[in-house]
Symmetry: C2
Subunit: 348 residues, 2 copies
Amino acid sequence: MSKNAREQAVLGAVRERREKVNAAIDEDLPAQRPERLYEAARYLLEAGGKRLRPAVLLLTAEALADVEPGSTDYREFPDLTGGDVDVMSAAVSIEVIQSFTLIHDDIMDDDDLRRGVPAVHREYDTETAILAGDTLYSKAFEIMLQTGAPPERGMGAMQTLAETCTHICEGQALDVDFETRTDVLPDEYMEMVELKTAVLYAAAASIPAVLLGADDDTVEALYDYGVKAGQAFQIHDDVLDLTVPSEQLGKQRGSDLVEGKKTVISLHAAEHGVDVEDLLDADDPDEVTDADVEAAVEQLREVGSIEYARECADELVAEAKAHLDVLPDNEAHHRLEQVADYLVERGY
Amino acid sequence: MSKNAREQAVLGAVRERREKVNAAIDEDLPAQRPERLYEAARYLLEAGGKRLRPAVLLLTAEALADVEPGSTDYREFPDLTGGDVDVMSAAVSIEVIQSFTLIHDDIMDDDDLRRGVPAVHREYDTETAILAGDTLYSKAFEIMLQTGAPPERGMGAMQTLAETCTHICEGQALDVDFETRTDVLPDEYMEMVELKTAVLYAAAASIPAVLLGADDDTVEALYDYGVKAGQAFQIHDDVLDLTVPSEQLGKQRGSDLVEGKKTVISLHAAEHGVDVEDLLDADDPDEVTDADVEAAVEQLREVGSIEYARECADELVAEAKAHLDVLPDNEAHHRLEQVADYLVERGY
């Protein structure tokens, strides 16, 4: 299948689920009192987002249950032992966690834009943004508790969710720590990416297996699929930050370089003699022009750093797809392979 | 029993448990990588704290299981159906949540001091403090997952924990909202206090009942004990903020008045003609002297507002103690009654 046909297939699958996910978000996280708090908490969720992680979760459930994609009620989804489970709640929970992390990350990184709209701490204020994130945090746990799965599986899902949140915090701490370090090793970077970004994909892919009653090997393989796909996603994100126009990114292009973020690209470039810290000499992403970014990217391209990052991402995608062998051979399984490809082929 | 003897009995019971709780915190939340993150997360827990909520949780377990207080291993605590449960993990979880809320509250209120040491966002920085709070948040859920209780009880405890966290956020949002409102009603204030402060006592008192397998009526009564005792605690805290020297409080005396916080005291005073907003005319708690605070308190005393708050707190304590009737008549039960009394008698 061509890259373009694959992208269309993935985007179609994501889109088909997005409307249902959005309706479920409104059901599970309604606007309520105190109004301003829940408005702020729902603000980014309402601003858009592809709902990629919920789509991965729902597709994994469909692959495991061996049902035709899109044919089955996600709120009463057949498990592997003759019962049914609300996998949609799990999908909403993962998206709510994602939204909480974006709100707090934007405060910490002092980013102004997200999804093309002001970050929550800009639209409201820092206090409200902290509290909105904290509210989403516990709401995600409440929502994950309502899957109706047998309690031992419910506890398993809660365990994965809690550990995932801890890992995201640890990853974010490492990311901040790396900004002021010049001796970051590639392995350290990959660990940081696993913790900060990939574990949420791993949770999205493995939690449905836990909830539906799959065996431990299946749960573990799907977790590993998520880790590898998530690492590939982050590396591709780092590429996009440098190569996609700001309007399309929904935030200032090149902001990672200005903020001194370590990426596969910057680590490779530094190893190959590029003075990465002086590539974009500004204190704030708003101070750099597109021409500045273009000149910096040209230098990175010349030493092969952009190409190197693409190769890393491709390798991770191949590893991710291999882990899907535990799934039955069906359409949803095939779609999950394409999702992994899409994560490193998407234009933004 | 005299007030003094009662206080000694409570403080003795709290102290006896504190050392075990502190050791359990070190076990369940060890210093680990990334070092700076976990240092910041553990900073307030290490700075002190009475461990009142863990003590309430452990005493409730002891009262329910009808064992001699202090005689039983909290990690392998006898439940009501012949099994055993690690109630200490639940106690640690509650204290970790308390610590997370203090860290984020101090950022939101821009308070400099806590427990006599710099607030986390002062000792470290705001970014680290946000992240340290977020880490404690998920760690509390991880720790609550390790009680070893039967899964359906474990899920019940997780449900209470998640709802409690959501309520705390809602209460904090109302508290902030009230600062700029002049039409706050007493019932709204009491609801805010229930959400912001009391639910964590309610969780501490009811979660052991869930974990040990008590019936729903018992769980509910203990929850209500916690709510009433917690509301009384907060009202007494509001009195202490005005009447106790800064060194003893561990923060600037009178800070609530400067920040425009609504309390039972300020609501009563406003109703009785006091211009509460001008009582302490400063933008920052550091700008007021002890003499300023003393003059303000004198005005509040004259219209009976301080006395009124004390009466409210006493009534709530009486209601709290009545809910303990579901417990067997034993020493731990008696100690929980004394704890409620202590919450409104303590000097700081």
